[in-house]
């Protein structure tokens, strides 16, 4: 993974000093809240329902054990002993004190971490495929380019006061594990006919009030011209994005209003003037960054491991966990291991300081010291030898991290909702907990199969409900919490937005409604057909009927 050189270190340390000064000026009165607010947002500090919230960046979801231990220490020393991993591969702390945030940032800077631009109307954390560098289907590790973009976007003087927030995601393969089609800019790596690597560029996707699957603005962008093209897109947006209405200020509104082709033409014109200029990184610089993402020292191992097979045969719980939490690795004898942060009855995406340390220990001992955060609020140990999988699993179980439910109905994505968030209309976490509890039986979950359930507490859709196979949106109906259900969304390369199934359900009724949907699917599916595929085949009619007929 990327290691800071003196320039990167200087930047984060200077940024800490800068924010310390800004906080001091705020507390002593030289800065009022109106002028301070965008500054604190650009350092990841929100004011939430109960307290401040600090969102720490985990660039493209990659960190090592030293960094994870520091996150644990921050949870323990400055917060209430836990953190929350988010749908943008970041981590959030719910209870920091403003006056202590500069100290937290200083501790983060010591381990090459920061909270720069995790909020505010600027370019946010660049996210990438959480299996990067381990999955077999990559053209190239997308994190190389995510790091290039991260540096270019950091304290960019022209793009720090955009019309609205700006989110970029990169996937290294056709298989989209980064949800690029619903980002402001989505980049998919591919090769052109000459075999040269580059990007398909999607601009203007998004969720929230006006969910849109973004159009492809450029079918092929040569790799070396990435930054000049991004600068062109951002400049067009900065100049032409709406500033009169914050609900209409994202780039997706601009792209939809002028049309994808017209937008592409505007970008192309600006880009022609920018390309070949100072934005192009020297080849040696790209190579320097790429070297940090070179494959780690894998061992030469056989494809099968007899110990691993034996443990799977002997230990039913282990075998069942392997079915959902292991993914094939491109390197023979290795596996990609997912750690579910969705124990039944727990808060989706939360980890205690002790759990963070357990993961750090396992990564350091067994995992070539690498950890990932997925946009589905889980963690990943991307490089585990098959022969070590059982030991890692035992360590996870001991730490309360042994949930065997990746991709199953209890692996719910849930925003913090009205329990924590200022913007929410309804609670989401207890709904997630009650649904998970209803489906706690693992045999039943396996029978149901892959089912991505996503809950948002308001229309801002931080829970990505639009792209859930089942999506749940919390709404306020006459002062009570109600939940609107959508069906058939998908965040992958087959991206689709969920369709509203009918009137919303009360807090008391929504879990039954979800169970009804699941049972309807089970009754109508063809052999081996996932929920999403069954819905696409059948349409909403049988589900509507099951939910609403006779009511």
């Amino acid at each position: 993974m990327y290691r800071y050189d003196e320039f990167d270190s200087a930047l984060v340390n200077e940024r800490v000093a800068q924010f310390r000064g800004q906080v001091a000026r705020r507390l002593s009165g030289y800065l009022d809240e109106d002028r301070f607010k965008p500054l604190r947002l650009m350092n990841g500090v929100y004011l939430q329902l109960h307290a401040y919230m600090l969102r720490v960046a985990i660039p493209y979801g990659t960190l090592d054990s030293r960094q994870m231990r520091r996150l644990a220490r921050i949870a323990r020393v400055y917060d209430r002993g836990y953190g929350h991993f988010t749908t943008r591969q970041n981590v959030q702390y719910n209870w920091p004190k403003l006056a202590e945030v500069p100290d937290i940032l200083a501790e983060l800077a010591e381990v090459e971490m920061h909270a720069i631009q995790t909020s505010g109307n600027c370019i946010r954390n660049v996210t990438a495929d959480h299996f990067a560098g381990a999955a077999a289907d990559e053209v190239e590790d997308p994190r190389i380019h995510a790091e290039v973009i991260r540096q270019w976007s950091t304290l960019h003087p022209e793009f720090s006061f955009l019309p609205r927030k700006f989110k970029i995601a990169v996937t290294g393969a056709a298989r989209d594990r980064a949800a690029i089609n619903v980002h402001d800019i989505g980049l998919q790596m591919l090769r052109n006919e000459a075999g040269e690597p580059g990007f398909r560029v999607v601009v203007g996707g998004g969720l929230g009030r006006t969910p849109i699957v973004g159009p492809t603005i450029r079918e092929f962008l040569p790799k070396a011209e990435l930054l000049s093209y991004l600068e062109a897109v951002l400049r067009v947006y900065n100049r032409l994005g709406r500033r009169d209405n914050p609900f209409k200020a994202r780039i997706k509104i601009l792209v939809a209003s002028v049309g994808g082709d017209a937008f592409a033409a505007m970008v192309e014109e600006e880009w022609q003037a920018l390309r070949g200029g100072s934005l192009d990184l020297p080849e040696e610089e790209v190579a320097r960054i790429a070297a940090y993402f070179a494959p780690p020292p894998f061992g030469a191992l056989p494809a099968q491991d007899t110990e691993f097979e034996a443990m799977r045969f002997e230990d039913r719980d282990f075998a069942r966990w392997c079915r959902t939490n292991l993914h094939p690795h491109k390197q023979q004898g290795y596996a990609i291991l997912s750690i579910s942060l969705k124990p039944v009855g727990g808060v989706p995406g939360d980890a205690t300081a002790e759990q963070m340390e357990a993961v750090a220990d396992l990564a350091e001992r067994y995992g070539l010291d690498e950890i990932r955060v997925s946009h589905e609020q889980n963690l990943v140990l991307p490089h585990i030898r098959l022969r070590d999988v059982h030991a890692v699993w035992q360590g996870l179980v001991a730490a309360g991290l042994g949930a065997a439910n990746i991709g199953l109905v209890s692996d719910i994505i849930s925003c913090p909702g009205l329990d924590y968030c200022n913007l929410a209309n309804a609670r989401s976490i207890p709904v997630a907990q009650r649904i998970a509890t209803r489906f706690a039986d693992l045999d039943r979950q396996h029978d149901i199969g892959e089912l991505k359930l996503k809950i948002s507490g308001c229309i801002n859709a931080c829970g990505h409900h639009h792209v859930g196979h089942i999506g749940i949106l919390g709404v306020d109906k006459k002062g009570s919490e109600f939940y609107q259900i959508t069906l058939g969304g998908s965040a992958g390369e087959d991206a689709s937005l969920g369709e509203i199934v009918g009137p919303a359900f009360s807090y008391d009724d929504v879990v039954d409604a979800v169970e009804t949907l699941v049972e309807t699917y089970v009754g109508l599916r063809e052999t081996g057909e996932r929920f999403l595929d069954a819905y696409r085949r059948l349409g909403s009619a049988p589900f509507k009927e099951a939910l609403y007929a006779g009511h």
Binding site: E33, H50, K97, G346, T352
Partner: protein
């Protein structure tokens, strides 16, 4: 009877605060001073604005309450949760586990 009270967050630590008598800020909603008229509410907000200028609190606003037996109670789910704390949470689980 419904009335309005003024609430804010502490500038330094972000905690939820309610404007009580004499311009004092309390963590306890029960101590909030209810305003039964627009004038009374404006007077409370003026105190709050002073507190914002003096950098005690941020983002003060007035909210609706029901007053029962002289004690204000929040009317919205949002303010109920804001007053009582999260209904769920890993920190709550940690606390209970202790």
């Amino acid at each position: 009877m419904t009335a309005r009270i003024v609430t804010a967050n502490g500038l330094r630590d972000g905690e939820v605060l309610y404007l009580a008598r004499d311009g004092r800020w309390s963590r306890d909603l029960a101590e909030a001073e209810p305003a039964e008229s627009a004038e009374a509410e404006a007077a409370l907000m003026a105190i709050a604005e002073g507190a914002m200028r003096c950098r005690t609190v941020v983002e003060a606003y007035a909210m609706a309450v029901a007053v029962e037996d002289g004690t204000p109670r929040p009317l919205s789910q949002r303010e109920r949760i804001r007053a009582a704390g999260p209904t769920v949470g890993t920190d709550i689980a940690i606390e209970r586990g202790r």
